[in-house]
Amino acid sequence: MSAEVEKFIIEALQNMNYDVSDVTGETPLGPAGLDLESLSVAEIAIQVEDTYGVKFEEDEMETVALLSVSGLVKEIVERASAAATAG
């Protein structure tokens, strides 16, 4: 699932007009990398919720913004499988 989620994240970034040509799993979402503004992080969160049913709470958004692309993918995959197990 990780590869699919990573592809989804990169496509979402591309749709937001971020230059993703050099983006890898290691690229930070924050200032050292993509430098996403808070609304971009929020937009990704809402798209993730829409597609994978995984929700990030408001107080988690700052932590999310500090992740790398793979870090975010890992979070999504873990939460999705936790939800599937619970469900």
């Binding site: 007009n17 929020a42 937009e43 809402i46």
Partner: protein
């Protein structure tokens, strides 16, 4: 003339318009003077196709033409058109904020009647179809009515006063009046001011149509639909666009060698306090607005050579404005025309576009005509410029804007007092 502007007066040094007649104030003015109409049937695939049979549709514009790629998401067309007009006005003034003027001495007041309703409509429909997660966090910074001003400030590094004044069809004129005030009171050396509107979505169009405000029955001849002061007029034509002016302290313009189109000498603003959508039938609110502009400028009625009318082509509005003009100017009313006959009604964008047109009328010595004014309504008899443009030097001009809500604004422009003139 009883009054001359001083070093502390306000002069217009840059113009930008984005209208159904195209991009560029000079091009738009030339088109108006040649009686060219920007009105047409919405083409297949346009959001208004099937809702109205005529509209004023401005050129296409993509976010990437006016904003960096990552900032253009969901930015409504009203803000994009405002950004284009502001870019053009600043370029026309030859002014770079930070290079030619202290960013803290620059203000931006760019208004809109309703902001980005088309984007809101799209998101509301998406929510209804796809559920809560269809709503983007980018919606608000894309559509709020202050966002044209804010994004112009961000793009050009403007750090002084900024605001947006949401007074419907007087919004653009209110912004220009406020600009004159900021200059007059020493709050800024340069004000980027104007208005923008992008109302061509089905919900807005149907609301105006159901209010019986829109011209109807002109599907076979869309260019004939907007006919201010004409006996056969039956409403306005909904249009979109933006107008932005660079207004500068005369002393500041002179110090950097900038040329002025016209001075912004006076303004009047009143309120009808009558009905939400109908003007006072006697035009009293409008008359007081024009008198206010004259008083502020120190001019006499006979100094005014041209009025760019609000003139939307509604039955009530045109008659009320005619009465107001007669009340203020008596039997010697100045030449008058309504350029909405060719642009349509840009709502919150109209006042700024028409202030730009008035500035060009003064600087060029040419008065654009009212198109389609074939037979003047007997209740609207005035010195109408019609048929073709009139070559006439005028010392001063008034641009009127009246709005739903009863807001009235009259701007008074006069020949530029900067050393260099356009």
């Amino acid at each position: 003339m009883t009054h001359r502007s001083t070093d502390a007066g306000a002069v217009i040094t840059g113009l930008g318009t984005f209208t159904p007649l195209g991009r560029g104030a000079a091009e738009t003015f030339d088109a108006l003077c040649h009686g060219k109409s920007g009105l047409r049937r919405p083409p297949t695939g346009h959001p208004l196709d099937g809702s109205v049979d005529v509209a004023g549709i401005a050129p296409d514009i993509e976010a990437r033409e006016v904003l960096p790629p990552s900032e253009g998401r969901l930015v409504d067309r009203y803000a994009l058109m405002a950004l284009a007009a502001a870019d053009d006005a600043l370029a026309d003034a030859g002014l770079v904020v930070g290079r030619d003027v202290d960013p803290h001495r620059v203000a931006v007041i760019v208004s809109s009647g309703a902001g980005g309703l088309s984007t809101y409509e799209e998101q509301a429909l998406a929510r209804a179809q796809r559920g809560p997660t269809a709503v983007s966090p980018y919606l608000l910074p894309g559509m709020l009515p202050n966002m044209a001003a804010a994004r112009i400030a961000i793009k050009h590094g403007i750090r002084g006063w900024s605001s947006a004044i949401a007074t419907a069809c007087a919004a653009g004129a209110h912004a220009v009046a406020e600009a004159a005030r900021l200059i007059r009171y020493g709050e800024a050396d340069v004000v980027v001011c104007g208005g923008a509107e992008a109302p061509l979505n089905p919900t807005s169009a149907l609301a105006f149509a159901h209010a019986r405000a829109l011209a109807h029955g002109w599907g076979d001849d869309p260019e004939a639909a907007s006919r201010p002061f004409d006996r056969r007029r039956n409403g306005f034509v909904l249009a979109e666009g933006a107008g932005v002016l660079v207004v500068e302290r005369v002393g500041h313009a002179d110090a950097r060698g900038a040329a002025g189109y016209a001075d912004l000498l006076g303004w009047g603003a009143t309120t009808d306090a009558y009905r939400p959508t109908a003007p006072r039938p006697d035009g009293d609110g409008a008359a007081h607005s024009m008198r206010g502009a004259l008083a502020k400028s120190g001019l006499s009625p006979q100094d005014v050579g041209y009025i760019n009318a609000h003139g939307t082509a509604t039955k009530l509005g045109d008659v009320a404005e005619t009465k107001a003009v007669r009340a203020v100017f008596g039997d010697h009313a100045p030449a008058i025309s309504s350029t909405k006959s060719m642009t349509g009604h840009l709502l919150g964008g109209s006042g700024a576009v028409e202030a730009a047109i008035s500035a060009l009328a003064i600087s060029r010595g040419v008065l654009p005509p009212t198109h389609n004014l074939d037979e003047v309504d007997p209740d609207c008899e005035l010195d109408h410029v019609r048929g073709e443009a009139r070559a006439q030097r005028v010392e001063a001009a008034i641009s009127n804007s009246f709005a739903f809500g009863g807001h009235n604004v009259s701007l008074l422009l006069s020949t530029a007092s900067s050393r260099k003139k356009r």
